[in-house]
């Protein structure tokens, strides 16, 4: 079939090595694609909501990850199927853009695909379905704006923010101490936020974890924690009012980049060279001392001799500090990163109120705390926990919480969670469907049904009767004209999400719907899959 004939009747090949490729076309292609998209969504479906389960993933190297963060699961799943890869991308872009709702977006896309399959069987052209979805997503998008609430908070009244972060954390394993973690996340975000410009640079928040201790010991440090120790064991462990020289040059004799050789052929030369070498070390340390530094943080290593000289001159130093950490330290302490000793001046030094080394547990782990910095705009969240997996999972959960807090600062509109927003949208889309003439109407209705999938999954994961609960909530919403009714996952006895304080950001929800629709449209438009078959 991939063989064609030109005008002289000679055959030529369109598809190279045709026999070795499998090819699916038309409805078959679409159905296969939909099936694999649904398979991915099915994996994530049980992770949705506060009662969602975790997945255990074993990497090719045998490391174990336990998580219920959609983006992480998909990323580590080692997917081979092309469409499945699209879903992975989908969840990743939600993660980059919003940081939360990564599971929801995939479940949503899966539901849309499922509905599309039915429509395809009815014989509706995929493009018409895609168009209908597009229209429906626009309706839902606008409806969300309509039901969104403005959310009031200020630097002094952070309670609402904490509540939102708690919603995010409640679906994670850390929900045991979600209150304290939410507080930490909010305080961290507020510390680095620029409330006037409504911008938050999350790079300024460093999340550092160390195995051991309890989850409750997790703390927020207004400063930087570096997983390093002093270069010489006998340097002072605590420095007050530190002036920090941040260097990116090693404490070693310079290595010119041009190739050169220094030939030693006489005794005199040998001796001058030796003196020169000693002077190098001396000069370097003296330079740091001269500008008034009381702590040296260096990206590179030191020579033993330089190390001792530093200790000798009572100049504590930290070596092999990573580039990212170095930048953070520079930001926090208001110092400048200095690439050469000659350029060291007193103005370029960073200032910190307290630098101390802290030891943990029975092992020799030590970390350096840089606190009370000149510029408190950089903070560190220091996580403790029972084991490595717990810490990794806490890191991911906190990242989600941080993102949510950031989104709220950027845009303070919220919608209510627990599936209430989806139900409300579904009702609105359903109602709007009748107004459209043409085949799109069916697609719009299907979209409304797909929106119901999220509250359904929530109810199912919480051990409730999915269909019964959903229909009850839906009728309640319409009867009371209250868009805040959702699924009561935690069995608290009320359906009103306003009372339960469960909300999500408006942009997060909108993004979910838009992204899911886009991906589904893309998948629907594919009608030919050519892939190399197994060899």
């Amino acid at each position: 079939m991939a063989l064609a004939f030109d005008e002289f009747g000679r055959p030529f090949i369109i598809l190279k090595e045709q026999e070795q490729k499998t090819r699916l076309r038309g409805l078959d292609a679409q159905k296969a694609n939909i099936a694999s998209g649904k398979a991915v969504a099915r994996i994530l479906r049980t992770s949705l909501g506060p009662k969602g389960m975790d997945k255990m993933l074993q990497s090719p190297d045998g490391d174990v990850t336990i998580t219920n963060d959609g983006a992480t699961i998909l990323e580590q799943m080692d997917v081979d199927n092309q469409i499945a890869k699209l879903m992975v991308e989908l969840s990743r872009s939600q993660d980059y853009e919003i940081g939360d709702g990564t599971t929801g977006v995939v479940v949503m896309a899966g539901a849309l695909l499922e509905q599309a399959e039915k429509l395809l069987e009815h014989g509706i052209h995929p493009i018409r379905i895609a168009e209908g979805y597009e229209l429906a997503s626009r309706i839902a998008f606008e409806h969300l704006e309509h039901i969104a609430h403005k959310f009031e908070f200020s630097a002094t009244n952070i309670e609402p923010l904490i509540q939102t972060c708690m919603t995010t954390l409640s679906s994670k394993i850390v929900n045991r101490c979600k209150r304290s973690l939410a507080e930490i996340a909010v305080k961290a975000v507020l510390a680095v936020a620029d409330l006037e410009r409504k911008d938050v640079n999350l790079d300024l928040i460093k999340v550092e974890g160390k195995v051991g201790g309890k989850l409750e010991d997790t703390e927020l440090i207004y400063g930087i924690v570096v997983d390093k120790d002093m270069s010489h064991p006998q340097m002072p462990k605590q420095i007050e009012d530190a002036k920090i020289a941040i260097l990116t040059c090693p404490f070693e004799p310079p290595k010119p980049k041009t190739k050169h050789k220094v030939d030693i052929d006489t005794v005199e030369k040998f001796q001058t060279l030796r003196q020169q070498e000693q002077k190098y070390f001396d000069d370097m340390v003296q330079k740091c001392k001269d500008v008034g530094a009381t702590l040296v943080i260096c990206q590179w290593g030191f020579d033993d001799e330089a190390n001792h000289l530093l200790m000798h001159r009572n100049l504590p130093a930290v070596r092999w500090v990573g580039g990212v950490e170095l930048e953070l330290i520079a930001i926090a302490t208001g110092g400048r990163i200095v690439p050469r000793f000659q350029e060291l001046t007193p103005e370029k030094l960073g200032k910190a109120g307290l630098v101390r080394e802290k030891a943990f547990g029975t092992t020799k782990d030590r970390m350096i705390y840089i606190e009370h910095c000149a510029n408190s705009r950089a903070v560190t969240i220091f996580i403790r926990g029972g084991n490595k997996m717990m810490i990794e999972e806490t890191k991911r959960s906190l990242h989600d919480a941080l993102c949510v807090a950031r989104n709220l600062i950027r845009n303070n509109s919220i919608v209510y969670g627990g599936g209430s927003a989806e139900i409300s949208c579904s009702v609105a889309v359903e109602a709007a469907a009748d107004k459209y003439p043409g085949v799109e109407q069916y697609a719009i209705r299907a979209f409304a049904d797909a929106l119901d999938a999220i509250p359904m999954a929530l109810a199912e994961n919480s051990g409730l009767q999915p269909i019964e609960t959903l229909s009850a909530v839906k009728s309640q919403q319409i009867k009371e004209n209250n868009s805040c009714c959702g699924i009561d996952c935690n069995d608290t006895g009320t359906n009103d999400m306003r009372e339960q304080n469960v909300f999500e950001t408006l942009i997060g929800k909108q993004q979910q719907i838009l992204l899911a629709t886009q991906v589904v449209k893309m998948i629907l438009k594919i009608d030919d899959v050519i892939s190399p078959s197994d060899y």
Partner: protein, 527 residues
């Protein structure tokens, strides 16, 4: 149409019940593996490495056993991980934490089979763990203020910890050693200043605590064997040929005469360096790196004791205990802090000569010399002693103490049982299960000792029904006894760590409903 292939080749996916079963079975297998090592009559395991030499370790330390296992089951890895953390944090209770987590999962499996949702079990376990912790907190004894009592508490804890180890025959002796060593630290948890030297030969009873510092090195030839009022310079510097560190430098000569000249200059340089070192007014020089024959000879001439090639830990510890600094340049002798000690001498332990520094400045440091019949025995003795030291040093900071011998478990189980009775709903099943898991620990201890566990535990439970009972299992006599009288104590911190970590791990495994195993990374065949 079915999905043909979602994952890469060889990647596997386990779902729902199957996934849960796989993780339960994995975790329980690990727990059963270490179960028999629990308690004073617990057995040891032989571990043989697959590496070259097939070296053998005999141990009953849970963390050590689990660390050496190659495990493929992801849930089992979680348990190995918690035991490792328990080891890092408190040093003891590494077996108990795994056994408890295993028991919790065993009970959870039953509940899951009875159609109770894992999330319900988790919330029940959480309530139970909180309640158990509070029950323990109510019963703790804190004797920090009373120095005499505190010391006896420490002694009891050390004996309890050691009683399950190879050292149990001489536990009083070793408990004494450990307590003395830890008391010298005066509240710091820095175990680095306690040095453990293992020397095969003699018997375990011959092990002793030395107040000074012992360096496992020989004294250079022709140098003094005994120095009083030693001034020590601890250094980390090259004492072979000093390299020129300027990049790109090399020696290029055109005649033999010049080679000789440079060699002389080099020698001169070394002589100068040695002279500078001697000028510090020292009579002992310890270097981390090699000392070549030539400088060694120079040192010998000057009557300075030179010790070469001390390992890094040795150097740091020596600097710490003698109060000196680790020097690498020697240009200004007046400002280098020298280390001091009253006496340096060469001593013999067994057949080996060692260098002994006594009367050191820092009173914290001490050395424990372990003697024993074989290296395996010594290794195990070191691990046991390390456990005891860790627990003691943590207890010095957090001086809350509990009774041992299954007493804490019974106290917790009682409190948790009461909670179960008060809790409405399905969670109460999980809470009851938690209490059963707690009781499993004294049961296993009794089983391991070859006692009638069912009878004993029932007696124990009855005994605990009374308020303020001190009853626990007395393994030696094989009956229920008063733990306070028998002097069996445990540190609160250890028990708390066991309880919290085990619950956390069980929770983590319970939450899983799907296991996705990626295709193992291909090793390139080097055939």
């Amino acid at each position: 149409m079915a999905v043909e292939k979602l994952f890469k080749d060889e990647a596997t996916e386990e779902k729902g019940e199957r996934a849960r079963m796989a993780s339960f079975i994995g975790a329980m297998a690990i727990a059963d593996l270490v179960k028999t090592t629990l308690g004073p009559k617990g057995m040891d395991k032989i571990l043989q490495s697959t590496g070259r030499g097939h070296s053998v370790t005999v141990t009953n330390d849970g963390a050590t056993i689990l660390k050496s296992l190659h495990i493929d089951n992801p849930a089992a890895k979680v348990l190995v991980d918690i035991s490792k953390v328990q080891d890092d944090e408190v040093g003891d209770g590494t077996t108990s934490v795994v056994v408890l987590a295993g028991e919790l999962l065993r009970e959870a499996e039953k509940l899951v089979n009875a159609k109770i949702h894992p999330m319900t079990i988790i919330s029940g376990y959480r309530m139970a763990a909180e309640c158990a912790r509070n029950a323990l907190l109510e019963k703790v004894v804190d004797n920090k203020l009373d120095a005499e009592k505190f010391k006896s508490d420490l002694m009891k804890i050390a004996m309890t910890t050691l009683s399950s180890k190879i050292l149990s025959q001489d536990k009083e002796h070793f408990a004494g050693l450990a307590v003395d060593a830890v008391m010298r630290l005066k509240g710091s948890t820095n175990l680095e200043s306690i040095q453990i030297i293992k020397k095969p030969g003699g018997s375990l009873k011959d092990s002793f605590l030395d107040e000074g510092f012992i360096l496992d090195k020989k004294i250079g030839v022709g140098q003094p064997k005994r120095i009083e009022n030693a001034k020590i310079l601890v250094a980390n510097t090259a004492m072979d040929t000093d390299k020129v560190k300027i990049y790109g430098a090399r020696v290029r000569v055109d005649s033999m005469a010049k080679v000789a000249e440079i060699e002389v200059a080099e020698k001169e340089k070394m002589r100068e360096k040695v002279q500078k070192i001697i000028n510090h007014g020292i009579n002992c020089f310890v270097n981390r790196q090699l000392i070549y024959n030539f400088p060694e000879e120079l040192f010998a001439d000057a009557g300075v004791l030179a010790i070469e090639h001390a390992d890094f830990d040795g150097i740091e510890r020596l600097a710490l205990v003698t109060g000196g600094e680790i020097a690498s340049t020697f240009d200004n002798p007046e400002s280098v802090k020298l280390g001091h000690c009253k006496l340096i001498e060469e001593i013999m332990i067994g057949e080996d000569k060692l260098i002994h520094f006594s009367g050191v400045e820092l009173g914290q440091a001490c050395t424990i010399v372990l003697r024993g019949a074989s290296p395996h025995m010594l290794d195990e003795a070191e691990r046991s002693l390390h456990d005891a030291l860790c627990v003691l040093s943590q207890t010095v900071n957090d001086s809350r103490v509990l009774l041992g011998g299954g007493w804490p478990e019974m106290v917790m189980a009682k409190a948790v049982d009461e909670l179960a009775r008060k809790t409405p709903g399905k969670r109460s099943h999980a809470i009851e299960a938690f209490s059963r898991s707690l009781v499993a620990i004294p049961t296993i201890i009794a089983d391991n000792a070859g006692l009638d566990s069912a009878e004993l535990v029932a007696q124990l439970r009855a005994e605990h029904h009374k308020e303020g009972s001190n009853a626990g299992i007395d393994v030696i006599s094989g009956s229920v006894g008063d733990m306070a009288e028998l002097g069996i104590s445990e540190a609160f911190k250890v028990k708390q760590g066991v309880l919290l970590s085990a619950t956390e791990a069980a929770e983590m495994i319970l939450r899983v409903d799907e296991i996705i195993t990626c295709a193992p990374r291909r090793r390139e065949d080097r055939m």
